[in-house]
Each structure stands twice: as C-alpha cells, then as structure tokens.
Amino acid sequence: MSQPSSTGSFDVASLVEDVNLRRVAQYALVVFFLGFFLVPLETGIMTAIKTNESVARSLPFAPPVGEGFTLGNIQFALEQLSGSFFNSLIMSIPATIGSVLFGSMAAYGLTMVNWRAQMGMLMLFVVGVFVPYQAVLVPLARFWNNIFPLARMLEPMVASIPFFQGYHAELVPLVITHIAYGIPICTILFRSYYQSLPNSLVEAGKIDGASITKIYRRVILPISKPMFGVVFIYQFTQIYNEFLFAFTLVTGSDAPAAPVTLVLPAIGASTSGIDFGIRMSAAFLAAVPTLILYVAFAEQFAKGLRTEA
C-alpha cells in the first residue's frame, strides 16, 4: 500500500491505475469462480421449489414466480427419506465416535511413546488410508453374510429396543466396518497433531510417575479437544456421505435399513423419466446434515483435509 510514496511522484497515477486494473481483474475472477461453484447448487435449490410445469417452462436457475412455487416436492422427498435419515444418523454417529476414539488412542500409542518398529506400523496405517475399498468388498460381503452373519444374530435383540425395528440390526455390521476402515485416517490426523505437541508434556508426566493411561486421560485428552472437533467433523461427513459400504452390506435402495445415500439415486425416478423437482429436493435434504456442519465448522473441515495430505 505504501508503494506509491516510495516510487516517487512522477508516475503515481499510472501505477495506481495499473494496480486497480489488476485488482478489478482479480476480483472478477474470484466472482466468476464463486458462480462456478454455486450455480449447480443454486439451480438445484430453485428446481426443488418449482412445480413441474414451472421447471419445464422457466430457466433452470431462475427462481419460481407466483404459481410456480411449491413446497410439495420437498414434502414428498422428506416423507420418502425420513426413515433413511434415521438409519443414516444411527449408523454415522456411533461409527464416527468409534473410529475417532480408536484413532486418537492409536495415534497416542504411536507418537507419544518411543519404541522401535513404530515406523513400520505407521506405514501400515498410512497405506490403510489409501487402499481402494474395492479390494475388500468381496471379502466384506462374504464375511458379514456367510461367515459371521451378525445382523441376523442381532435381529431379535435390536427389535426389542424401543424406536428400533429388527432390520436396524443390518446397520451393526456397517457401523463396525466404518469404524475399522476409519481408524487409519483418524490415526493419521491425530498423529500430526500429537507430533506438534511439546515432548515435555509427556516427559513431565512420566517423571511424576504417571502411568501411560493417566497421561492420556489427564494430559492428552484435555489438550486435544480442538483436534477431536476437527476429526469428528471430518469423519462424520465422510461416513454420512459414504455409499459403497452401505451398498455392499445393506442391499438395495428399497431395503428398510438403507441410509440416505443409498435411497437418493432412486428417488423421483419412474418409467417416464426423472422428476427433477423431487430429485433435487431429496438431494438437498440428504445434504442438510453435512451442510450445517460445514457452514458451522468450515475451518475445522478444511483443517482435516489439509492434514490428510
């Protein structure tokens, strides 16, 4: 900002002009990309609140006018999705808590304490982050269907829990699967945080004679609260949004235990084509939980992504 005064007075005017032009171009690009990222969302919302007639006659991104406005699509989509919303939440919440806790424990065991072969074990965790899940789908299907049919075994028990039906037992293997495959990424995220903590924290605890468990509970857990926030938000978003495991373990979009992501690609479809008003409504309803989390905790979400890399 102080540049004009230091370059002398003779070409201040042209310099200011130059800077302004670049600024204008820069802001123009920023706004252009704002449009690039928002148009698909905006179009979707506008389509969700339009009647079929209005969808056919108006521009896709234009807001509905007068008679063209309806909440019918959203209402219909909500009725269709309400059961699967419940499925998604009772699946995502325990799965997130489980993988985050295990990840924190593993990272603590791997970082705060020194022993050999740590690097080898860490490598196994890191590879676990990147493994394409296709490589375990056939075993997963076989394991939970034939070798250890936990869902069928738990069905009578789950049916006796208030608000639950027998078919919710199908979500138990899914939760365990999500916990197991979520551990690597949670471990890596926590590890990067624990590594940044000063060593003296643990050393002081050790000198005081505190056990490893005590150090974890009294020292590490309290100071890693912000990181728990980051990992929790990141992991909940991942599990709630996930499709492939649910697709493998809870077969079919019409299964009563199907989470939202499984139901969504089938909603509003008929022999005459897709009703986009309903489809867009359902897409937005499905996105609401993660959108709320994102709007409220965007910084934490970004931090999770940054640390992953």
Partner: protein, 317 residues
C-alpha cells in the same frame, strides 16, 4: 500385567540369568508393552479389516468362485487375471480409468493452484471465498451426481442453455460416449478443485512473505514471482495432493453409480471400479471381480508406494 511380580523377585543369580530376567523386566516395563493397549486394539481391528480383507480377496481371486456357495481353494490359478487382461471390457475400462486419472488430476492441480494464488494475496474476505470454493467437498458424491445430472440434462440443463445461447446444437453430455467421460471429469473437478486449493494455500502460507518483498524490490512482476519463485516451492503440496487425487480416480465408483442409479454407468465412462462392482454384485462373479480388485489395488500401491518412500526419505512421516 501379572508378570510384573515375577520379575520383581529376581535379585542375584548367575550373570546370564540376570541378563535374561532384567531384559524381560525391561521389556515388560518398556513403553512398547505399556502403550500396547493403545495402539494394539485399533491396530488389530484395522489390520483384520484392511490387510485381512486384502489377503482374503487375493485368495479368492485365484479360485473360480462365482454364484452362491463357497469358494473352492483346491485348484488355484491365474485364470481370472488372464481372462480379465484379455477381455475388451477390462481393457476399455482401464483406458477410461487412465484418462480419468490423468485428466482429472492434472486439471484439478492446475485449477487448484490458480485458485490458491488468486485468493492468496490482496483479496478481502478471502476466507469466505475459500469456504464457498471448498463447499462441494462437504457434499456426498451421491448428491453432487444428482446436481450434475440436472446440469447435464439435455432439454433443460444449464450447460445446454449456454450451448444453445451461443448458437450451437444441444449436446447429449452423458449420452454421447465420446464426451461422457469428459463431462464426468468436469463435474469431479467442480467437486475437488476446492480441495487442491486448500492444500496449495497451506503451502503458500508457509512461504515467508519476505520472498514476495524481495522479488518485488527486484522489480519482478507478480506473475513472474509466482511462476519462478513460489510455485517451485510447492512441490511437496503438489505431490501429496496428486497422490490423493490419483487414488481417488482409481476408486471413483459412487459418482458414476449415482448418476444413473444402476451398475452400468453412462456409456464411455466405465472404469475399473465400476466394472469390478458390477461383476461382483450384479453377476456374482466373485473370483473374477476379486482379480480386478487386486489389480486396482496394485495400481493404487504403485501410486502411494513411491510417495511413502519419498516421504520417509524426507523424514516427513
């Protein structure tokens, strides 16, 4: 833990025994053992799921297992691999996968870098813009597939609105096999470029401001400063973002499935991941799809192996 008492009793016996006993005591009191419950439980659970699963998949891929029933391990051979490698469906899926991997990764990196540089300096409310740019990353592929299905709609999608306004004929984005993959790549770039931007911004922020100052004092233009001085320092960010993107491109299944809601994605966009899932869960060809999955895994390891080695050498793990 009960073994602690045994080791306490040892006082003095022969040298060898002392050595042995104290070694045991040292071992049992070592951080390795005492921290075992922490890393042990998650490690075992994760290992069974990830490495047990991979091993089991590997074993199935050598059998002829299909349909109902159980795999027969008595005759193991590479038949499924040779069958896959000589099938047209596999070859074309692999080609599509390569196009997706290269195209998607390259454009995402370039666009992400561009966005990061754009927002790095001199923009007010830069964080607010970053939040919007990153927003698609918080959505499920199932949701973004629906949004783009509507964008690509032949009669009333926005893209065709633009195309016809410019005076061209409407394009069947997802129905034309020669452009469907490009359309998919475009939609995935929309979702992922915010991610590469965030990674690059983190890299940019770690570069000290005085380098910009020094370049400016030398009279270098902003663009030249970025190209010559700043971008070469972002190698590490580029490599790690590229690895994440490439591995994603290998396993991208959900977006393609959710576009059409069936096993077969739009013509011209079939990749190894969709081929594998279709063969397994639609046709019950377990061994065949296990073989494809193994090859997919090897490709993914081909990407992350060198990366991890590089990271390890750098000491940044």
């Amino acid at each position: 833990m009960a073994t602690h008492d045994n080791t306490e009793q040892v006082t003095d016996t022969t040298d060898e025994a002392v050595g042995w006993e104290s070694k045991l005591r040292y071992f049992l009191n070592s951080d390795f053992v005492r921290s075992a419950p922490y890393w042990g439980i998650p490690f075992v659970l994760m290992s069974i799921a990830v490495y047990g699963g991979i091993g089991y998949n590997f074993a199935i891929s050598f059998t002829d297992y299909e349909g109902l029933g159980t795999p027969d391990y008595s005759t193991l051979d590479l038949e499924m691999y040779t069958q896959a490698l000589s099938s047209d469906a596999f070859i074309s899926a692999a080609q599509n996968n390569l196009v997706l991997l290269v195209g998607f990764t390259t454009i995402c990196l370039v666009l992400g870098l561009f966005l990061a540089v754009l927002l790095d300096h001199g923009i007010r409310f830069s964080e607010k813009f970053q939040t919007v740019y990153l927003l698609p990353m918080s959505l499920s592929f199932v949701v973004t597939a629906q949004l783009w299905l509507w964008m690509f709609n032949v009669e009333s999608g926005i893209l065709n609105l633009v195309v016809t306004t410019l005076g061209f004929n409407p394009v069947d984005w997802l129905g034309n096999p020669s452009i469907a993959l490009g359309a998919v790549i475009f939609a995935l770039i929309w979702q992922f470029s915010g991610y590469t931007m965030v990674v690059y911004l983190a890299g940019l922020q770690s570069i000290p401001d005085d380098q910009f100052e020094a370049a400016r004092v030398d009279g270098a233009s902003i663009i030249r400063t970025y190209l010559r001085i700043i971008v070469p320092q972002l190698k590490e960010a580029s490599v790690s973002a590229a690895v994440v993107l490439m591995v994603f491109a290998l396993k991208a299944f959900t977006f393609l499935y959710a576009l059409v809601g069936r096993y077969r994605p739009p013509n011209g966009t079939d990749i190894l991941a969709t081929l594998m899932v279709r063969r397994a869960f639609k046709f019950g060809e377990w061994a065949y799809s296990a073989a494809i999955a193994t090859m997919l895994l090897i490709m993914a390891l081909g990407v992350i192996g060198p990366y991890l080695y590089y990271q390890y050498k750098q000491g940044s793990l």
